[in-house]
């Protein structure tokens, strides 16, 4: 052993708190743009509604604005981009500073992923607040009966699980690869090109089978907002898009979340040089 008096490592709490603060700083511009976009979007809708009510008879002007699981789709799309901000200029070949800190690499990376997710959840909550505010304000202008209370509980939860899924999916590529954009874009384009080719060559069944990844009963859309197709009709050429399904969502969402969570963990613990 050594006679040198050794220094301690930082506490997990200190690391987690600092990661939350640092990631918040990294995402500051994106967050400001997001809030500005929400304000602008809300102002446009309210202004347009006021104008509509003033220029049309009330019975001809209905916004029909309400909350439902599909309203979470923009959050999912935004969440796909957030990991690029969390790991700004820190692709694996430039991540040595992060790795050189006195914290185990895997947990340190997970802490940063978690910090980004926490900010994403705050953004989701802010988004929900805007949506709820609009759903409450607009009927007072049009005289409609507010229907946002019709949404089922699981549809409110979707506002948090959908962006979580999007965030984890992109995080896998951003943590694991120097070329995350290529992976994300390549997979997306490759997926649709593959389906297009299968259709073009008359392999409808194969194409439908591949499409289950996104549109199947337990596919990505089901995991995201409960949208999917009947499992029985997946291989049929006459599939019908069903309405939102809580039962599909209840199975697909945990499956996709656990799968992507495992992939993120593997990417985080992989020793890159």
């Amino acid at each position: 052993m050594t006679s040198t008096s050794l220094h301690p490592t930082p506490s997990s709490r200190t690391v987690a708190t600092e990661q939350f603060r640092a990631v918040g700083l990294a995402l500051r511009t994106e967050m400001i743009l997001f809030i500005c976009a929400l304000i602008l979007f809300s102002a446009l809708i309210i202004g347009n509604t006021i104008h509509g009510v003033q220029t049309h008879p009330p019975e001809h002007w209905r916004t029909g604005f309400t909350y439902g699981a599909p309203v979470a789709t923009p959050l999912f799309l935004m969440a796909l981009l957030i990991p690029f901000g969390v790991w700004r200029a820190e692709d694996p070949s430039r991540r040595a500073y992060h790795w050189s800190m006195p914290v185990a690499r895997g947990p340190h990376t997970i802490a940063k992923v978690f910090a980004g997710w926490a900010w994403l959840m705050i953004a989701a909550a802010v988004y929900l607040l805007f949506v709820v505010a609009l759903a409450l304000i607009l009927p007072t202008i049009t005289g409609e009966v507010s229907r946002f209370g019709d949404a089922a509980v699981w549809e409110w939860i979707v506002a948090f699980t959908a962006p979580t899924l999007g965030y984890l999916l992109t995080s896998i590529a951003v943590i694991g690869s120097d070329h995350a954009w290529r992976w994300v874009g390549g997979l997306y384009i490759g997926y649709w090109v593959l389906i297009g080719c299968l259709f073009a060559f008359g392999m409808q069944d194969a194409a439908q089978a591949v499409r289950t990844i996104t549109d199947g009963a337990y596919g990505l859309n089901a995991a995201m907002i409960g949208a999917g197709r009947d499992a029985a009709s997946v291989s049929s050429a006459h599939m019908m898009v069903r309405g939102l399904s809580m039962s599909n969502w209840l199975i697909a969402m945990p499956l996709w979340l656990v799968g992507s969570g495992i992939a993120v963990t593997i990417a985080s613990y992989r020793h890159r040089e």
Partner: protein, 307 residues
């Protein structure tokens, strides 16, 4: 010729102790069976040409790079098994200037770094920032190489680590700031008990600091020794030789360099001075001068590829 240059230090407590570390990057051997021994409290100068494996050796100690063979310990802690504890005790100045977060301001980066090191001394950090003339409001990404290097030095020194790994610490600095930096490092060593592993091409700058030297070439540790050993055993011999001199059969040491001129030959030899002088005189030559080498000349001799 078989080298008899020393590659092991004598017994004593070691701050850094690697045993036979080997690392390849693809087909390229970056480190080959390197056994680095840095005594506690030493200022160990690691020299070698570009690509010799100096930076890789430092990265193995931080567990940024993992050796395929061999083990590495820092203060008795395995660098792989107990990497966070090892890193908590190291202040590292990397060779690359894009260290830290380019989007962060200098002041915020120092604050961020401080939170990871419970022993961070804020007063000392402020003093260093003043000495290095850091502009805390500037973003890291817009700093010049020299400015970034000064920030890295502040980050490395301010938590007063027991071990400093400095990879080209004065690279990119102007002569004034280079002098200032070496002064800061010397002051730091006087104030805080620290072991230093220093990799630099500017060997002449650390002549007064380094007390041990390790020579890496092509991923192999050719020699490591204390300055005392170096000063005692490495000499340049200037010998006047007669016409038709047939040469000396064998010197009792390792010839690192031989320069021949008309009627005069210079040898740079590692070995016992008295025996070498006796051999040279016995061969018919007249030993005119025996001089110890400066650190830079010694380094060049030890790196001599003809050895």
């Amino acid at each position: 010729m078989t080298s008899c240059l020393p590659t092991r230090l004598r017994d004593g407590e070691l701050a850094v102790d690697t045993r036979g570390i080997t690392k390849r990057f693809g087909d390229q051997v970056a480190l080959n069976d390197v056994t680095l021994q840095v005594p506690t409290g030493a200022v160990y100068l690691l020299v070698g040409p570009n690509g010799a494996g100096k930076s890789t050796t430092l990265k193995v100690l931080l567990d940024l790079v993992r050796a395929e063979k061999g083990t590495a310990e820092v203060f008795g802690l395995d660098t792989r098994e107990r990497a966070p504890e090892v890193r908590a005790n190291i202040g590292y100045v990397p060779e690359r200037p894009d260290w830290g977060y380019g989007w962060m301001r200098v002041g915020r980066l120092l604050e961020h770094h401080a939170l990871y090191y419970p022993t961070w001394d804020p007063n000392y950090a402020a003093r260093l920032a003043q000495k290095f003339e850091l502009r805390l409001d500037r973003k890291m990404g817009v700093l010049s190489k020299g400015q970034a290097r000064r920030v890295h030095l502040t980050m490395a020194l301010a938590h007063r680590p027991p071990l400093l790994l400095l990879d080209e610490p004065t690279d990119g600095l102007d002569p004034f700031m280079r002098d200032e930096t070496l002064g800061v490092i010397a002051d730091h060593l006087a104030e805080s008990p620290t072991t230093v592993v220093l990799s630099t091409h500017h060997v002449e700058e650390v002549e007064g600091l380094a007390d041990h030297i390790g020579v890496l070439r092509n991923g192999e540790l050719r020699a490591q020794m204390s300055r005392d050993d170096l000063n005692a055993n490495l000499r340049r011999y200037r010998v006047e030789v007669p016409d038709g001199w047939s040469g000396v059969a064998a010197l009792n040491g390792t010839v690192l360099r031989r320069v021949a001129a008309p009627r005069e030959v210079q040898w740079t030899v590692w070995g016992p001075e008295a025996e070498i002088v006796q051999k040279l005189s016995g061969s018919g030559g007249t030993v005119r001068e025996v001089v110890p080498l400066s650190l830079i000349d010694a380094t060049l001799a030890l790196l001599n590829p003809n050895d």
